[in-house]
Symmetry: C2
Subunit: 265 residues, 2 copies
Amino acid sequence: MATGRTHRPATRSRGIPEATVARLPLYLRALTALSERSVPTVSSEELAAAAGVNSAKLRKDFSYLGSYGTRGVGYDVEYLVYQISRELGLTQDWPVVIVGIGNLGAALAGYGGFASRGFRVAALIDADPAMTGKPVAGIPVQHSDDLEKIIEEDGVSIGVIATPAGVAQQVCDRLVAAGVTSILNFAPTVLSVPDGVDVRKVDLSIELQILAFHEQRKAGEESNAEADAAAEAETATAVAPPAPRGATGGNRKGPDGDVPAVMPA
Amino acid sequence: MATGRTHRPATRSRGIPEATVARLPLYLRALTALSERSVPTVSSEELAAAAGVNSAKLRKDFSYLGSYGTRGVGYDVEYLVYQISRELGLTQDWPVVIVGIGNLGAALAGYGGFASRGFRVAALIDADPAMTGKPVAGIPVQHSDDLEKIIEEDGVSIGVIATPAGVAQQVCDRLVAAGVTSILNFAPTVLSVPDGVDVRKVDLSIELQILAFHEQRKAGEESNAEADAAAEAETATAVAPPAPRGATGGNRKGPDGDVPAVMPA
DNA sequence: ATATGTGAAGGGTTTCACAGCC
DNA sequence: GGCTGTGAAACCCTTCACATAT
């Protein structure tokens, strides 16, 4: 079936749990800030606060990398920066291509956080001939006809997809065929990739929807009848709840509230 | 300490696990696509494939919402769209402000996925007076002096921060003081918020770093000496590994490889 | 016959709490 | 005394497998 796989089996990662890997960049960012302020050492407590996690988790995480701290003292900032960078593979240079230079692609091209972490924007690629040659963030846009050539010549293994959803899968297929094995997908689509290719996705609308879920919950709990009534009123302008096909009208059990009063007969 | 909390205790969510909530938008997207193609029903198997998850997980997820399927048949597409929308709170309108109208803010302002999911861009806010009044994606940018007024007048409870990292915390503080209780943060910083405020973060550089980790692992496994040697060569130009303070040189135990050959004396 | 809904098993992650070391 | 490193417990999430319903 080859449906887009985002996380690998996790046993692979030389024993470092996936959850830990996902937090290493956070620690690295906090450590880099300390390093810039010439702070020599940190305790797990301080670093955890700076990274927004709790200290027990941080210590567990670091224990997977090795014993890099000193009991009674803490962690050496510079040393940890190096160790985490190495573990993440950031001590080498990663050329990256960005495909789809719309607003988002342009924002990504100009994002400072890349260069400072070993990522180098090797090329910007867009299908629009009018864009070809135009510099974006100082880098000239290349036409997508040349995608394969660019990937191969620069030895690119990481691709960023910032195209419309409709073309994301075909862009993905071409990237993979040309040798890309890691993809960061901003298009709101599920990408199918062969085994051995990693896909991570960022979906702006999904993040907002998760926030909305919790927001709704808050409004409901405040026993704040005013806010509640307002929310209900809005509902009237929205999607009408369709009845389930062949509903007999009896045995549909919602967890408690079931379908609200807005539901028509 | 009040460090930014991203996930709430999870027991709160009327019993719906956080992991399930995070997938509901995915299901919704797949269902919406089916709905547009006028597909009346789907099986858990089909829908799971379209959403990029496995069917057992999907059925478990749906079971938290209620019994919305029909055994032997599947799920009614329209009905599920409505139920999930309602659960996520998307049947009501959520005004959103975007603060920081650079490349990224502009991309977000023009992102189609918002409007179609019940999110309405109530205002674009930027601190640069030169931006004030300029329309971005058809919406005039307002000056940040008016932030509080805008939030209060429009009853905004969700804010998106797309500013530089340096000002993100103070923008966050002002948003929260003005009544915002959910924040989507694109700035690469940990935000501190009081209890009751949700923060979700999207960090582009973090996603790439996670990919780089796995990418590095792949290169190492292929017994591909060529790629390996190239990687090592690059390392020379990168961060020099500092020794730990007070290192006695004996008892630092890396999990296996320890510090590579590049490490100086 | 077919596909959902769900207890139970299995893995992974977080938290606790303290032994071990400086 | 202070802080790391880590077994053990608790928790959450995923997967299995089958009873249950149409």
